[in-house]
């Protein structure tokens, strides 16, 4: 389909502060078009230039089967993998924080970074809990011994430092002998007595009792003047040491007497990561050559030999991290997506986990036709493109654009705040913008003087706490936030005087984890909250009291919304189940009961058949929109992969046949936002995958036969 290309210099916008507003040139990359879809006009917007960051390292939790993924911008994502792939929470990074290695210590998550400290994260709050100096410069690697309950870190100055992690603290215990060159990789033997480290040209085996090196293995150089860097090491319980180095070799060593067992040159470039299965019969290796290769143990006549097994080539760029979760091998790297493969070759195929965050990065104001786009350290405010609707609207036709979209503002946190933005929202009336980093929540009033110029004024309010989620009520009188200390704040806003006042602080005793979803009914009378434990509560906003708690479903809610008329609460879960709850009857609605009784599998799962099954997380519903009329209710479930559209007879009408039909529209994807501007115009923000790929660095050159 045709896309309108915009290429003109925008008018100068009014200066505000020193860094909030800049001049813009709208490049021809800004693509957008109006598109008529059955009875809707779809406004497709491709202005959002969001690119996920490369995966830096991963750690799988043994206890909770959660996967922690650190990205190159220092942010850490926790993925719940038990039932389906769901991004539970994101700990935003900051510009002065890097993560080089991650480790789970029980249910604590620790990381080491180049800024030279060990950081522990608060997973109930998505913030940094504490930070301890490594006493050895940049931390390149971390290992944990469950027997000793200690962690060891490999530092820039060439020493291994041991820390005690008992009693929820991190205390420095001792330093091992210093060696020449930084320690890049490390593995701790199961017994806790031996640590293996890799650095340039050498692998050392240390005794944890004495702190001295027991053995030293010099790795052969490929060329005389080029150092061999040992990017990764692993040790198995039978003291077999595996090393992966910059010349592309995976070598197996007898750790007891430091002799080479086997050397495999399976990769064409650096081997960056290694990982072994629980039964230690298979070791996976991956690196710059984007193949994940399995090495299998063949025990014939008690002579162990490691043979190269199958290989998986699904990544396009360097693979930086490998992890094993239950019976799956997960790999991630520069191409930002996670790939998942079954360990046993025979069952299951590979799956791709896309790196779009679950949280909405885009919010709109329908009345003022504004769209706010959230990047990691700034916000962009755009005015929609305008178009003249022709008299006849034919399905599938493109409508030419009359006015180009205009970038009005760029809002940046002050340079003192290095933390990245974790959530942002623009009010429905278009007068208020709020965003939160892990340290501060900031509220702005947006004042527009004419069509294309505007300014923002910071509104100060006592008692604001950094938040995970912010919503404005539909009448824009209140701002509601779920804070990092598990409270719900309700702030009254007065647009005329630019004033904000904290009016209520709601707290439930049962709330011990993050409230990641908030929804307000169209009449601004009810507030629904959902947390990661799956608890959903409804509050009455008129008298600020707790109204009810919904029955608990075993999965995590991914989106909640109120019906515009009946105030029934619709919840979509991460397994694609949809449940509607009537606040009047305090029970599931008739429609839900009917759906639950007739369908064996989750409602939306049945619709998705035929759409790609290789991408597993992309279909999770991230927002729900209603279009209500007297005869028919239309419910739009937005996922990154497309729109699920369900049509049904409204609940309050007495009809036996309440379910009219449902379909899955994956014409527009990947979707980052869908919003109704009015009853017949749907605004969607797309981020085509090829645009993301174009922004990735070049890949390792590989010769193809016949070229």
């Amino acid at each position: 389909m045709d896309n309108f290309e915009v290429d003109q210099v925008n008018k100068e916008t009014e200066m505000f502060g020193s860094k909030a507003v800049k001049f813009y040139k709208i490049s021809n990359l800004a693509r957008l078009s109006y598109y008529i879809m059955s009875k809707f006009v779809v406004h497709r917007c491709r202005l959002f230039k969001f690119t996920p960051c490369a995966v830096q390292c991963m750690a799988a939790s043994v206890e909770t089967s959660d996967l922690a993924v650190a990205r190159s911008d220092g942010s850490i994502e926790i993925w719940s993998t038990k039932y389906s792939w769901f991004q539970k929470l994101v700990i935003p990074g900051s510009s002065d924080h890097s993560v080089e290695s991650l480790i789970w210590v029980g249910n604590r998550l620790l990381s080491g970074g180049l800024q030279g400290d060990i950081t522990e994260y608060d997973l109930t709050d998505a913030t940094v809990k504490l930070s301890v100096d490594s006493f050895g410069g940049a931390v390149w690697c971390i290992a944990y011994s469950i027997v000793k309950d200690k962690i060891a870190v490999g530092c820039e100055d060439g020493s291994v430092k041991m820390f005690d992690v008992k009693n929820k603290a991190i205390t420095f215990e001792r330093a091992f002998d210093k060696q020449e060159g930084r320690i890049l990789s490390m593995a701790w033997h199961k017994s806790g007595d031996i640590i293996v480290t890799g650095s340039t040209d050498v692998v050392r085996i240390w005794s944890t009792k004495t702190g001295h090196a027991i053995q030293r293995i010099t790795i052969e150089r490929e060329m005389k003047n080029v150092e061999t860097i040992i990017w990764s090491v692993a040790i198995l319980s039978d003291y077999t040491i595996i090393s992966g180095d910059s010349s592309g070799r995976v070598q197996f060593w007898n750790g007891k007497n430091a002799t080479l067992l086997q050397s495999h040159r399976a990769h064409r470039a650096d081997v960056l990561c290694l990982c072994s299965t629980k039964d230690e019969k298979c070791v996976y290796a991956a690196g710059v050559d984007p193949r994940v290769i399995a090495f299998n143990l063949v025990q014939e006549d008690d002579v162990p030999t490691w043979v190269k097994g199958r290989y998986m080539q699904k990544h396009t760029h360097d693979v930086r991290a490998l992890a094993i979760i239950e019976n799956r091998i997960v790999s991630g790297g520069v191409d930002t997506n996670l790939m998942m493969n079954s360990i046993s070759e025979k069952v299951g195929s590979f799956q791709r986990v896309y790196s779009f965050p679950m949280k909405s990065l885009v919010s709109t104001s329908a009345t003022k036709k504004l769209v706010l786009m959230q990047y990691s350290n700034y916000l962009d405010l755009w005015k929609f493109a305008k178009c003249n609707f022709p008299e006849e609207l034919n399905a599938g036709r493109n409508i030419p654009i009359e006015d180009n979209p205009v970038k009005l503002l760029q809002i940046k946190p002050p340079s003192s705040d290095t933390n990245h933005i974790c959530c942002s929202v623009i009010s429905p009336c278009g007068n208020w913008i709020a965003y939160s980093t892990t340290s501060t929540l900031r509220l702005y009033n947006l004042q527009t003087s004419d069509e294309l110029s505007c300014k923002v004024i910071r509104v100060r309010c006592v008692g604001l706490i950094p938040s995970h989620c912010i919503v404005f009520t539909p009448d824009s009188n209140y701002m509601i936030t779920s804070t990092t200390n598990h409270k719900i704040l309700i702030v009254h806003l007065v647009a005329d005087t630019c004033e904000a006042r904290l009016v209520q602080m709601l707290q439930l005793k049962t709330y011990t984890c993050i409230t990641h979803l908030l929804a307000v009914s169209s009449t601004s009378s009810y507030l629904a909250t959902a947390n990661l434990d799956g608890e959903i509560n409804v509050f009455d906003l008129t008298n600020m009291t707790h109204f009810c708690t919904l029955p608990k479903y075993q999965h995590t809610p991914s989106s909640i919304a109120f019906h515009p008329v009946t105030n029934d609460l619709m919840t979509a879960y991460d397994d694609l189940q949809v449940i509607e709850y009537s606040l009047i009857d305090k029970a599931y609605t008739k429609w839900t009961k009917q759906c639950l009784s007739t369908n064996n599998e989750p409602l939306l799962q049945t619709l998705r058949k035929g759409a790609s099954s290789n991408s597993c997380n992309i279909a999770v519903v991230t927002s729900i929109r209603y279009v209500h009329s007297d005869e028919v209710d239309k419910v739009f479930f937005m996922s990154r992969e497309g729109l699920y559209i369900a049509e049904r007879v409204p609940n309050h009408m007495q009809d036996t046949k309440s379910h009219l039909g449902a379909r899955f529209c994956h014409k527009f994807k990947p979707l980052l936002c869908t919003e109704f501007i009015d009853e017949s115009t749907l605004f969607v923000v797309e981020r085509p995958l090829q645009d993301i790929w174009e922004q990735l660095p070049p890949t390792l050159y590989q010769k193809k036969f016949g070229t």
């Binding site: 299998n296 043979v307 070759e345 016949g706």
Partner: protein, 715 residues
């Protein structure tokens, strides 16, 4: 009384179609070849023994599990035969009465062997006891192991010390201890649905692992094979096309593989060795017991013996014409007494049919063989369409070849060669580009009287080329007649008269005096080929249309006789006797003399003849072959000749009496070393070539065309 004759195979046929094996001492290479098993001496390259006894195709041979000097062979005639290959003695026969597709034995299972029996709907793998080989079918104790075995089974089933693997296109059956295993005691490994099909298999000699080759060029090495759940397959991928053959070395440390690329690949643990440019697709690889020699069978019907440091030690050429339909037919070269026909792509094959020896392949087009990227779209190659030999004048003998590049439709080349007595090889004299503008050459004939050569084409021109001392070969005359296609040309025995078949008319011409003769012979149908009679029949001209054989008396300009023969395929003439032979599409042969309408001999052949040739010989016992013997080449490229029935048995006995020699005889040594060299030196001599452009000859040709027109007026 007519002698009862029978055709016997004297040679030809493929030596690379089925697996060849080394003898245990690596001195001999044994290859199934048609109905025979040939034993080649690795040191000299001679075929030193022919095991003759099967009456149908030999499908597979293997070593006897206990006796080192014996082999077992299976054949489509339903028998397994045990041979002593050094002495060439058939020791015993075991008749299964079912066509056998393969036989397997392993020294670790001394009492049993395995055969593939072909039945109507499935091929089945059976085990039978070798202890005493009975002669009656009912006494053979067979037990069924696997059904529905793939037809091309010799590469898909492999045995090792402890196990046997039967592979199908996407699954594998592993039998542990196959000498005792029952049919249901097997381990099944199924490949994934999208996995490429298995094409060949080889077992590790010692360890419990095996390797499979796949249709997309992958090689997988399988470990942990006794464990259904945790079987490990390691994928190696270098070949871009299907892997056709795969073998572990006898120590198991390396794997050798070959495919359509014509590159032998040796897989070491972390690296690979390559032996490229072998000239053709590799169909089989055999490894000697001490792993010092590899035998690589190529699709062009030659076997290379390669040492373990990748040098070519020896070449055994079978009848290299395999896989073509011989576009240039068979010519007789009196110099070498050889039959000349298409050999390797772009080569001419010089072959001695009476001895079944291939002299050499002469490179004519001098192009490198490259394999195509996609097997569905094979690369076009330059074909040799015609070859002709001239008589010896001034001590020089000439040859002319016509080649045609299928890709560039107009790129045809006429090349004239001279046999250099000092170098003892063919030297290129002249190249003529597009002599007939790519219009389909139909014949190439040398004059027996002088250095002249005639080429004719579909476009209707006959061009006559003369040799000039300085410029090389030039076209001096170009003849046409009513724009009719010129189908054939022939010289009378003394070279005085040239006859040209233009459509349905034969015109005559005296090229030495440069004038056409006022003589024409016409027939109602288009004439395909013509020959002047020889010796006592010099005045007779025999012509063949597709349905009729005609004989004219040129002196009286009248029809001598004509005979109706259904669907004539081709006509050949013996230059040393009066005999001619005509072959029909229904494989009938009529041998006749132009002076007599009644054929001497007619026969219904059991083979599809694609080409035939008379070869001078003095020791034939058949009356009409007193001067020269007739050799036939079948569609399968096996060479046959006629034999008196009583002789047939002797022939098989004769083969046994050939002196067995492993010593290097001076002659065989010379032959084996010069074969390769001749071809190469011919290439290097290409610098001497001279090119003649046809346009230079335009003056002559236009003149002659006028003559042609005057001829028409005369009619």
């Amino acid at each position: 009384m007519k002698e009862s004759l029978q055709i016997v195979q004297t040679g030809g046929s493929s030596i690379t179609k089925f697996n060849s094996i080394f003898s245990h001492d690596s001195k001999y290479l044994l290859c199934p070849c048609g109905n025979l098993v040939k034993v080649f001496s690795v040191a000299t390259g001679e075929c030193f023994q022919r095991l003759n006894g099967h009456c149908k195709l030999v499908t597979m041979i293997c070593h006897h599990p206990r006796v080192q000097l014996q082999i077992l062979s299976s054949s489509l005639d339903g028998t397994v035969k045990v041979w002593d290959y050094e002495d060439g003695i058939l020791l015993s026969t075991c008749d299964f009465n079912v066509p056998l597709l393969g036989i397997f034995a392993h020294s670790c299972y001394s009492t049993v062997a395995f055969v593939i029996q072909q039945s109507d709907d499935s091929n089945e793998l059976y085990r039978f006891t070798l202890n005493t080989i009975p002669s009656k079918t009912s006494d053979i104790a067979c037990s069924l192991l696997a059904k529905n075995v793939v037809k091309d089974c010799s590469k898909r089933i492999a045995f090792s010390e402890k196990f046997a693997v039967v592979s199908y296109s996407n699954r594998l059956l592993v039998f542990i201890n196959p000498q005792h295993a029952e049919r249901d005691e097997k381990i099944r490994h199924v490949l994934k649905d999208n996995a490429p099909a298995i094409t060949c298999i080889s077992c590790h000699p010692v360890e419990e692992c095996f390797a499979t080759g796949h249709a997309n060029g992958e090689i997988r090495i399988w470990f942990n094979i006794s464990d259904v759940k945790n079987v490990i397959s390691s994928i190696q991928h270098w070949h871009s096309l299907e892997v056709l053959s795969l073998k572990f070395s006898s120590s198991g440390s390396t794997v050798l593989s070959g495919g359509h690329e014509g590159v032998l690949v040796q897989w070491l643990e972390d690296s690979k060795n390559f032996l490229p440019r072998l000239g053709s697709a590799i169909t089989n690889v055999a490894v000697s017991k001490d792993s010092t020699l590899f035998a690589v069978s190529l699709l062009d019907n030659s076997i290379l013996i390669i040492t373990n440091y990748f040098t070519i030690k020896q070449t055994f050429d079978g009848f290299t014409a395999i896989g073509q339909n011989l576009p240039c037919g068979i010519c007789y070269d009196s110099n070498t007494n050889a039959c000349v026909t298409n050999g390797k792509p772009g080569h001419l094959l010089f072959y001695l049919p009476d001895k079944d020896i291939q002299l050499y392949n002469l490179d004519i087009v001098s192009r490198n063989f490259i394999s195509s990227v996609d097997l569905e779209k094979p690369l076009s190659k330059t074909n040799i369409l015609k070859v002709g030999f001239g008589g010896t004048f001034d001590g020089v003998k000439h040859m002319a070849t016509m080649e045609f590049d299928q890709a560039k439709q107009r790129d045809e080349k006429l090349k004239f060669w001279r046999f250099s007595d000092t170098d003892q090889q063919w030297v290129l004299e002249t190249i003529v580009k597009s002599p007939h503008d790519g219009c389909g050459i139909t014949s190439l004939t040398f004059s027996p009287a002088n250095n002249a050569c005639v080429t004719t084409s579909q476009a209707g021109f006959a061009k006559i080329w003369f040799k000039h001392d300085e410029e090389g070969w030039l076209c001096e005359m170009s003849l046409s007649f009513r724009d009719l296609p010129c189908n054939d040309s022939t010289f009378s025995e003394d070279g005085s008269v040239l006859a040209l078949a233009f459509g349905h008319t034969v015109c005559f011409c005296d090229i030495s005096n440069n004038e056409e003769m006022q003589l024409m012979l016409s027939h109602s149908e288009s004439i395909k080929s013509i020959f002047f009679g020889r010796q006592s029949c010099q005045h007779l001209l025999v012509a063949a249309t597709s349905e009729e054989l005609l004989c004219w008396n040129v002196m009286t300009k009248s029809m001598y006789w004509s005979s109706h023969i259904h669907k004539i395929n081709f006509l050949i003439c013996d230059i040393h006797s009066e005999n001619m032979a005509v072959f029909t599409n229904s494989n009938k042969i009529f041998v006749f003399q132009p002076s007599d309408k009644q054929p001497h001999y007619s026969h219904n052949l059991s083979i599809d003849v694609t080409a035939a040739c008379f070869v001078p010989s003095k020791n034939c016992h058949i009356a009409w072959q007193a001067k020269s013997e007739l050799y036939l080449v079948s569609k399968e490229m096996s060479v046959h000749k006629f034999c008196v029935k009583s002789e047939v048995d002797d022939a098989s006995n004769l083969s046994r009496m050939i002196i067995k020699s492993d010593q290097v005889t001076p002659m065989s040594n010379y032959l084996s070393s010069t074969q390769q060299k001749t071809a190469k030196t011919v290439n290097s001599n290409r610098l001497q070539e001279t090119t003649v452009d046809v346009s230079k000859c335009s003056f002559h040709s236009s003149e002659i065309i006028k003559c042609g027109k005057s001829l028409i007026k005369f009619v």
